[in-house]
Structures are given as structure tokens and as C-alpha cells.
Symmetry: C2
């Protein structure tokens, strides 16, 4: 590590997002991101593998959080309850502060085919990770995959509502609403 | 079109699949596929845009079939019943003959990261198309997306079971089983 850069990672992420929004993801270079943040390219590459990674660094963190919540659900919890615990745990990161970031990030991703595909892949990876966490709890197939996939369906719908929501409905309330709607839909 | 080639498309698809299985997708060229089928590269490109398209040509057909089934479900049908009709309609293509092809195709896709990603994208596109077909029936959001995503979750789980199934359970029986499991899981 070079000299200490106060919150270099946060400054780089903020600069990157601002540039992606202003001029598009494809048109933005790492050199520009570093310059906007008042840092060097070298510092950028200490924090992110490439300019795409700035947008997806949070996905790995989210996956860990959800998998940990599935794992630590009470032994007696049904598969869907373990999945619900995971969806609720995402509320730790999806707070009001994060919502503006999520909105900007989505705008950047929707505008770029490669980024849209990356996002799909991250979601599929999340579904697999949850299915595996359920299997480790002793849930057999296809129940584990079905519960995980249904959980991700709820996650996606909840996420869209949360990002679009003008009001003050918080993540957990929206999760509960979407789960209840799924229940009504399939019953 | 050049001179008439009896079932050129089918012969090319069969040759491609055999070569992908034998030597891998990346290692196979269009020239080899055409030679194996006893046809020219020119003929290959009259039927497929590229060697990847051989594996995904069926996805567009499947999407049309499912969307048409959603559209033609009785007006009184609940969203999940329209989705169920779509899943059942897939039974028209997922017959016993198709199962061997599906098994080989999956083996090729699982072995290649780019193909796995393409498959995810096709599934996401299928979910969006079903959600839009539900919206055209007057289903509001988020019910349309949730029903479509839940339907795709059932589709994926059913597809895995159908491909793996050694016995003679047919597609429609497996769909009914997966839907029932989803119902039990979320209730």
C-alpha cells in the first residue's frame, strides 16, 4: 500500500458512478475515475479489478450476508423461513442512504447490455449460493432450489419496488409484502 | 437459397452437437460442423448466425410457445393459472425424443462459462416476456413479475428434474409436482 488515502475506495466509487451517469459506462476510463477522485490509477487498481467491478463489488458482500442468514436461521425453521431471514438480512445494507446509490447504479446498468448480463449472472449466483446454504441445513432437492429461486424472485421484485418507491416503505416491509403476494398468487 | 438440402438444418444441428460433445464448444469450428454434416459453410450460415446459435435457436421458439399460452388462457384464469398453462404448453416440445438432446445440450452448456451466461440471459428474457404477456391480460405489477418469476423458478427446477429423470415421468407431471411443492413451500 502507498501513502494513506482517506476513504480512497469510497471516493473512487463515487467518482466512477458520477462519470458513468454523466457520460456512460463505456465512455469512462479508469484514468478519468482516478482523476475525478483526486487519486492515481494505481490506487484505483488497489481497490478494484476494473471499472465494472466498482458496480459489482457490493454483490459479493450481499451474497455473504444472505448465506450467513440462511445458515444461522433456527434449526427448526422451514426452508422458506430461512430464505425469508436472508431477505430480511439484506435490510442491513438496503437502507435509505443506499437507495439513492441503488437508483443511480440501476440507471447505469439498464443502459448497458454487458452490465445487464453481469447483473443477471450475479443474481443466478446468489440463487445457487442460497440453495447450497439450504442443502447444508439438510433441505433436499428440489425443495432447496425451489425455495432459493422463489426467494430470488421475491428479492428481485422487492428490489425494484424499493428502488422505485417514492415513499418511505423500508426494505423489510416490502419483503413482507412481496412474500405475502407470492403466497396469495400460488395458493 | 442454393440447391435443396434435405433437412440441412437438422443435420447441421446434429453434427454441431456431436462435435461440441466430442471436442468442446470452443474447439469446434463452423467449417468442421459443415463438413461433418456433409454440407458447406455457406449452408450453415443460411440456417444459423453462428455456432452458438445452434444451441439457442430453440429458446425463441419456446418463448413464443409460452407467451402464446399465457395469452390464450381463459379470461377468468388467475395469473398463476395462466403461467401454469404456459409451463404445460412447454410439454409440446419437451417430449421423450427431446430429452436426450436436452441432456447433451446441457452438458455442453455447463462446460462453458459463456454458454452458461447465455442460458441465464435466455431465462431472464423468458421471465420478462411472460410478465409482459400477463400485463397484457390486465395483471398489474408487481403481481405480473412475481407470477412470471415464480413460474420461471418452477420451470428451471422442472427442467433439471426432467433432464435428470431416468424414469418415464413426463414434463407435465413434473410441472404439476413442482408447482405443488412451491405451494407447500410458501404456505
Amino acid at each position: 500500500m502507498g501513502r494513506w488515502e482517506p476513504d480512497a475506495r469510497g471516493r473512487l466509487a463515487k467518482a466512477a458512478m458520477a462519470l458513468y451517469a454523466e457520460q456512460g459506462f463505456d465512455q469512462t476510463t479508469v484514468a478519468e475515475i482516478a482523476a475525478r477522485a483526486g487519486l492515481t490509477e494505481r490506487t484505483f487498481f488497489r481497490h478494484f479489478a476494473d471499472k465494472r467491478e466498482v458496480l459489482f463489488a457490493g454483490s459479493a458482500e450481499l451474497q455473504k450476508l444472505l448465506v450467513a442468514a440462511v445458515a444461522s436461521a433456527p434449526t427448526s425453521a422451514a426452508p422458506i423461513d430461512a430464505v425469508t431471514a436472508a431477505l430480511m438480512a439484506a435490510g442491513d445494507v438496503f437502507n435509505d442512504e443506499r437507495r439513492n446509490y441503488a437508483r443511480e447504479r440501476r440507471r447505469v446498468i439498464v443502459a448497458n447490455a454487458e452490465l445487464r448480463e453481469r447483473e443477471l449472472i450475479k443474481m443466478a449466483s446468489l440463487a445457487s449460493a442460497i440453495a447450497e446454504a439450504l442443502q447444508r441445513r439438510g433441505v433436499s432437492e428440489p425443495a432447496a432450489s425451489l425455495a432459493a429461486e422463489a426467494g430470488i424472485a421475491v428479492f428481485r421484485v422487492t428490489f425494484e419496488r424499493w428502488v422505485d418507491e417514492a415513499g418511505d416503505q423500508d426494505w423489510r416491509a416490502l419483503v413482507r409484502g412481496s412474500l405475502e403476494e407470492l403466497r396469495v398468487l400460488v395458493s
